[in-house]
Assembly symmetry: D2
Homo-oligomer: 363 residues x 4
């Protein structure tokens, strides 16, 4: 229901197919008075653009967002902010040869069954192209968070079996290290290994999965709501709506299954800046409400469904067939890389919404 909208007070609605004229997003509920300009958005968009380096898809989108409403004299007015991003590099003709095939790992089968019609040019609405709109909206949410002193970040924590080590990295420097790495991994050594893995994977016509970690710092106590709108529940909802995600965890996550209570419980103590906990297995939430500790969690991404190898499948009519990507198709060996700014955007949107809702809780 209203499946193309996200959020309660700070609410977005996205639209557009991967190979249509344009895509866009309407942001409703952004507080008035926030300084915004197109470059804030375009800088964020640049980070998720394919083709920016050899480690992601060669489709070069060079997205330029246009703000059509809701900003006056450089500031938000409280009116809906409409952002439009033209689809410049869309060549739908190459999808003609595969339009009658069920694409392994893709959504055209389920869309066809659900709607009786599918815009087969690219992934249509199911394409990762839609996520550019999340990034554009997330850039505005992030400005609102920064105005409130909150910092957000995300990075590749794992690719295949390569795991980034961050124990010695200062939290405040993670974000800049991340975007210096072509594979968005702030651990230099792991970053090199991942680059090699991407190259090997690409050469084999294959793809590989990965895990993104996200962190929010300086989040005040009290964000998130009890029972069904717990902060981690809303984060899970947000992250599992990103294409290609298969898992979400907060704090200790799945590791908690093997822990004991005395190890897992984070003990309270007092710092100059207030109440803290000695460990952070909770990941910054207690009872669904932020505790003031860093919000930290992870999102698992499957290997890209589009690979350069032939795969057995069916036609939409039910006959056996071989699915092969058209010659010259773009191919993104690890979809998790480009998803880093998307995870950051979704994190920003959830926190901005929770920050506004918190204003309504007390007399």
């Amino acid at each position: 229901m209203a499946s193309n909208s996200f959020g309660n007070i700070f609410k977005i609605t996205t639209w557009g197919e991967s190979h249509g004229k344009a895509i866009g997003v309407v942001i409703d509920g952004c507080p008035s008075g926030l300084e915004i300009n197109a470059s804030d958005i375009n800088e964020a968009l640049a980070l998720r653009q394919p083709g920016r380096n050899p480690y992601t898809s060669p489709r070069y989108e060079e997205d330029k967002a246009e703000i059509l409403s809701g900003v006056f004299q450089g500031k938000t007015t409280g009116a809906p902010i409409s952002i439009l991003i033209p689809n410049k590099d869309a060549d739908p003709s190459k999808y003609e040869p595969i339009k009658d095939l069920l694409r392994p790992g893709h959504a055209n089968y389920t869309y066809l069954e659900k709607y009786g019609i599918f815009d087969y040019r690219g992934g249509g609405r199911a394409s990762a192209r839609e996520t550019a709109c999340r990034v554009a909206a997330g850039a505005i949410a992030k400005k609102f968070l920064e105005y409130n002193g909150i910092k957000v970040m995300a990075y590749i924590k794992q690719m295949g079996s390569i795991i980034a080590g961050l124990d010695e990295v200062d939290l405040d420097s993670i974000r800049s290290l991340t975007y210096q790495s072509p594979v968005f991994c702030p651990d230099a050594e792991a970053s090199s290994s991942m680059m090699a893995l991407v190259e090997k994977t690409k050469a084999e016509g294959e793809s590989v999965g990965g895990i993104i970690e996200f962190i929010a710092l300086s989040v005040p106590v009290g964000l998130g709501d009890p029972v069904y709108e717990k902060l981690e529940a809303n984060l899970a909802h947000a992250m599992m709506g990103i294409p290609a995600t298969k898992g979400f965890e907060i704090g200790s996550g799945f590791q908690s299954a093997t822990m004991t209570g005395s190890k897992h419980n984070d003990l309270f103590f007092k710092e100059l800046e207030g109440v803290q906990t000695k460990s952070n297995h909770a990941g910054g939430v207690l009872g669904g409400i932020s505790s003031g500790m860093p919000i930290i969690g992870r999102v698992a991404f499957k290997p890209t469904s589009s690979i350069m190898k032939p795969q057995s499948t069916l036609t939409t009519g039910g006959d056996e067939a071989i699915f092969e990507l058209p010659k010259g198709s773009r191919h993104d060996p690890c979809v998790a890389i480009r998803a880093v700014p998307i995870v950051e955007a979704m994190l920003s949107l959830v926190l901005a919404d929770a920050l506004l809702l918190k204003r309504c809780m007390k007399l």
Copy 2:
């Protein structure tokens, strides 16, 4: 926002504190004509009741639900169904000694900060007591699913490092095997090991975490909505709103990070009953929409926060203190066990809602 409600068309609202007079749930949007009686609900409630066997908390609630509205001559009328469950075994006096302490792993700190007031009798609204209402509502959702031929189930997949093996178990017999096991694990061998682990953990005054797997069978193609209301996103939202959860995954989950595309992609083929896939790494969803394959996923639970060991903490005033559960406190060494029917309930609620929304998608 409206944080005590869940669902869109098939919508529930729960209320009540663990040590108040009663708890309850209002179900709005259940289709008319469904046969319902109190025993349907009470049977489900019996499964999550603590005290039913030595492996869960000795508080014996003996919940009896009363249906106060929405059912006439044994059938739902389309009006809201109000269910009330009295709190019989509530002794709030024992919470007096700890009312001024921050409880490690619990939510009283964050509630106090957010609301400026906390009902310290039991966990108040943050108590697992609230989940009885989810189970009551889930029992009705489950009847609606059964009417549509859909089966749902959940069980302990892992406790500590003990993992259940289910490769040789027929999917249709899992549910009955589950509820024959005192620890809700359908693998007899693992069940025995888990029982021993629970006893050992209890003897040590400790607690242990676990993982619940959930499955839905015979789900038609087309449930779930694109972009922000993907079926897996709504499942994640539902599951991560259950107390003590730390992670969610669907299909291959976090394992997908180490897989390649050619291994992960589920290839389409045709069976007598229609289109299927040779593997099910997707977990029954493609592009956020059910594919007709079994919906399968997992939820991670942290070890119970309440343990019988003393722990350092702070008073609500900020002074150092020792937190110790009052003598004779109930103690549930593995909260995941009782969460099995809760996971089943949330799965039912998500699917019932998606089944109704699907009716609106085509001309």
Copy 3:
């Protein structure tokens, strides 16, 4: 959708049929820290109770609300407030004789067509009995408004062709005058005429319609949201959801059709207390947002559908029949009288919600 809920942040969900065991309401989103007790609610309920004087229905309900959750040590905690009102004086047997007849002016035909089933005991869910829950919830919203200095009131402005004159009545004394009148009309002379009209109408087995005027004073500038959530749109939504309503107007209302712009425009001037307008044809809203002037509007109620005269109708099977109320049926000759506290309640709910939402609009 979620048709038994009202509001966004300050949100209520009601349940219960007129002749079931009980009715009730869950209030979710009331800010924490508000002092509440059952007598606040019972005093409000007393005002709408039938049988309180000979001018309304003789069914004497003597409603006593029980607060089951959400209040601790006399204050709201931010948790959902569940209120239950038992149905004491419910005798469903008398509805047996008319259960297979379409009741003129009533909803049993449309409910039967929509749901395929109808709880024919009283009006089931369509009964005015449901409005007791609105009044209970409204009493809490009203306390929140009073905490913020806002005053609300409603009264009979017109019954049949008798129109109350209020030009010489001080706004602040209207509410107490209203509830001194058995027909809830603050104009003593009109009140007497209305009492006579009610008696005559009752003697004839007839019913009569009426118009309720509502006023809110000391409403700050800025409540209500542009475009689709204008304050007057939400008020209209609230009022037209009350049973038996046929019309809503704000400020000049339908009279505005015959006015010219120079007469209708309210001109701004400055008072000690700030910007005001010389007239208030707008009714306290400009562009859907409160202007600081009194919010004033009216709601039209049809004559009670239940009359003591025989009426031609159909059976549910489609045969011609005569509908007659069972001997000894309760009969409320002017439903608008009892609706006064209901209009006051809905006004309070809309303003409380708008007051909270306003907190989210600026940086």
Copy 4:
């Protein structure tokens, strides 16, 4: 909340200011398979365009809608439909001289107070320009209704004290008669009088109010939901969100206040085509649910706030001032005329949403 969205399943979100680059609407939840093209929308837009005849504002917009997404091969796909309408004839410079004045009858005062900033070019977001987006979306809703056999219409029922008589007009010919009249009144005689009134009003630099009546035919029984989402409540919400509206009524409306029950009750009888009522004071709804009789109601519009006469006012700084429209300003003497297609659009949106929701009510 989400104040720029309307609807539940068939949901729209509008954006754009009167003098920005463009305005637009995103329609989410339109069922797949509906045939749509830009001319459907442009024909509807042409009806509300100012400047189409001398009786409305001379600003000639010549709106051309562009469909940017959600339609593939001429049919809706179930994806969000994004429609963009460029602002061609926008000259914001003329608003400079009045930017620091509170405009009588306008919203700039309340916007400034609420948001701290106001896009003073035209009415910004508060401008009637926004309603073009409602008309565009309504055109799609109307196609969906037509697919289901439902007809909708609206027309000027009253202007000043001139009242259209429609007793002898066939319901099916009303719509074509309406749009043949320059003042959208299907009664030829009243239409002439209204044209004279508009000319006189314009010559005097004045404006005049009006009443629009709306009708929906062949609406099946069962649309609308009990209690808070009654069909008339949602219609009232929809209509009172249109700029310049002051009142709403359904069926007998405010007249019902002076009627008796035996006159007001609509008696059931049986026709070949099913159950009907002998009169239709209810306006096609019983208990908030459509009864199969024509849906009929009225909306009151105040006289246009912009008049050509000088008016006393304040500056935004609080000083006394005279407000005068800039020379050459466009001036629409009766805003109700152009609102006819807007009322039709809102009626269509409410019914389309209710028609979809009805699918979820029964097993």
